[in-house]
């Protein structure tokens, strides 16, 4: 009973921290949350122009490949870059009250999770407009992939935000790493065009599995359970380790913030 109460309180805290993030992110902005969808759409059009029209990339369904890569990537990208900053950005609260800090970085994931939810209807409309097939497997596939992605992001934000309290270079490092990862993950190209001889190194990037999952689901209605299993078996233990490391540092936070 006590444990259930604890979880309930944690979820309540997560909810209000996420709500706060929503209020802060787009204050004084005119179209607010619409940016969350416009941003990847704008990128998709630029890449479509550059690769399909200018460089004449011969890839079937390229626009859909772009969208199914860019929407999840924007979620990854913003959660990690904002997440790394999250303890520093919330120093006001952390210095004054002692509480369960680990919900702060997770709230950054949840904020962009909600953004991502807004982009799913856009994908579906796009599928309908271009005359592709919708699949019933979306109904199970989408929730599974959402949870998989959240579980995957949690250890990253937890550890990045914790290190960033002590060494502020982490946030700059994160943004450099993210721009490299953008091209090392099949976001603006399909995975089949990666040369075979690089594939064994290429597949070490965990985000490859995630993007592949989303793309297969939306394009062919297939859930690649193998990838879900790989991600969970790596990231659940990783998450526990990161949580332990972060927790051991919480008491030093307010002196460094």
């Amino acid at each position: 009973m006590n444990k259930i109460n604890r979880i309930k309180i944690d979820l309540q805290l997560l909810y209000f921290l996420t709500l706060k993030e929503f209020k802060l992110r787009y204050k004084n902005s005119f179209i607010g949350y619409i940016w969350a969808v416009l941003n990847p759409l704008a990128f998709a059009s630029v890449y479509f122009f550059a690769f399909k029209l200018v460089m004449k990339f011969d890839i079937e369904n390229y626009s859909m490949i772009l969208l199914t890569g860019l929407f999840p990537w924007v979620w990854i990208n913003t959660s990690l870059s904002k997440g790394a900053l999250s303890f520093v950005a919330n120093s006001g609260i952390i210095k004054k009250i002692s509480f369960n800090y680990n919900m702060i970085p997770i709230s950054m994931i949840m904020h962009d999770f909600v953004h991502f939810l807004f982009s799913i209807p856009i994908l579906i409309i796009y599928i309908l407009v271009t005359g592709m097939d919708l699949h019933f497997s979306y109904l199970i596939g989408i929730p599974i992939l959402l949870i998989t992605q959240i579980i995957m992001l949690i250890p990253f934000v937890t550890i990045l935000s914790t290190f960033n309290v002590f060494i502020r270079d982490v946030e700059y490092l994160t943004s450099v790493a993210l721009s490299l990862l953008f091209f090392l993950t099949p976001i603006v190209y399909p995975i089949d065009i990666v040369p075979e001889k690089f594939l064994h190194i290429y597949m070490l990037n965990p985000f490859v599995y995630l993007i592949e999952l989303w793309r297969e689901l939306f394009l062919n209605g297939k859930i690649i359970f193998k990838n879900v299993f790989i991600i969970l078996s790596v990231f659940v233990p990783f998450s526990i380790i990161c949580r332990k490391i972060a927790k051991s540092q919480y008491k030093r936070f307010s002196e460094y913030l």
Partner: protein
């Protein structure tokens, strides 16, 4: 029964990592002695409060009063020594103490409540009481950054008081409230003390200290100069200050 007991408390701030290349190459001479740049922030503090006792902490600027309150509130850890706290605590370490300036007062009530672990149903239950005590009226829906410091203190205190602690840790924050609000807070604290609640507070206002506290602690450059009855403490403190 002791409600708060501090034994051989010692705090030395960690030597920071060199945070930038410039500092790494240019070694600023920090070895010159200044009482604000001493080795230990706090050294060898020993005191205890019984249930119903309240304590005022006196001392010059930089003598370690706020550090002590932060340690008692568990936001920073002592380097050595022991602290026993028997009961729930609430802290108001500065004016905003965890209030988010970009949110409205109303939204802050829910955020703060969740941070200190209050269930949603309790926050809802206390909502009216908080708004009423703060006297902010419809301004509760304005962004907190538009508030004056007095209004901020009203909001913060009204929220914090509903956490119903056994011990309050308060760092001189009521100097900004107007007479009405201070009277209201004073009445609240009188009632709180009658119910055997304890207050530990940093203040430079000796009358206020005398009104709420029966004990006092004087710090000087991180060392405990005096711990004992309030009257004696005030006399000692006046002597030190002159």
């Amino acid at each position: 029964m002791d409600i708060l007991k501090v034994k051989k408390l010692h705090k030395k701030f960690e030597k920071r990592l060199v945070l930038g290349l410039k500092e790494f190459f240019i070694n600023i001479n920090k070895n010159q002695y200044s009482k604000f740049n001493r080795k230990s922030a706090l050294s060898d503090l020993n005191f205890n409060l019984k249930k119903g006792d309240s304590m005022a902490i006196f001392g010059h600027n930089g003598s370690g009063k706020s550090t002590l309150l932060s340690i008692l509130s568990n936001t920073i850890v002592p380097s050595s020594g022991e602290i026993f706290i028997n009961g729930n605590t609430s802290s108001m370490l500065d004016l905003s103490s965890g209030i988010e300036l970009d949110l409205s007062g109303y939204e802050n009530i829910f955020l703060y409540g969740s941070i200190v672990g209050k269930p949603y149903s309790h926050i809802k239950r206390d909502l009216d009481e908080i708004i009423q005590f703060s006297e902010l009226g419809s301004a509760i829906h304005n962004q907190v950054k538009t508030y004056s410091s007095g209004m901020l203190a009203r909001l913060a205190f009204s929220i914090i008081k509903t956490t119903e602690p056994d011990i309050f840790f308060i760092d001189e924050v009521f100097s900004v409230g107007d007479i009405n609000f201070r009277k209201k807070c004073n009445d609240y604290f009188q009632a709180f003390r009658k119910n055997y609640g304890s207050i530990v507070f940093v203040t430079h206002n000796l009358d206020e200290a005398k009104m709420f506290c029966n004990k006092s602690l004087i710090l000087n450059e991180g060392k405990q100069v005096f711990f004992g009855q309030i009257d004696e403490g005030i006399k000692k403190y006046k002597k030190i200050m002159s």
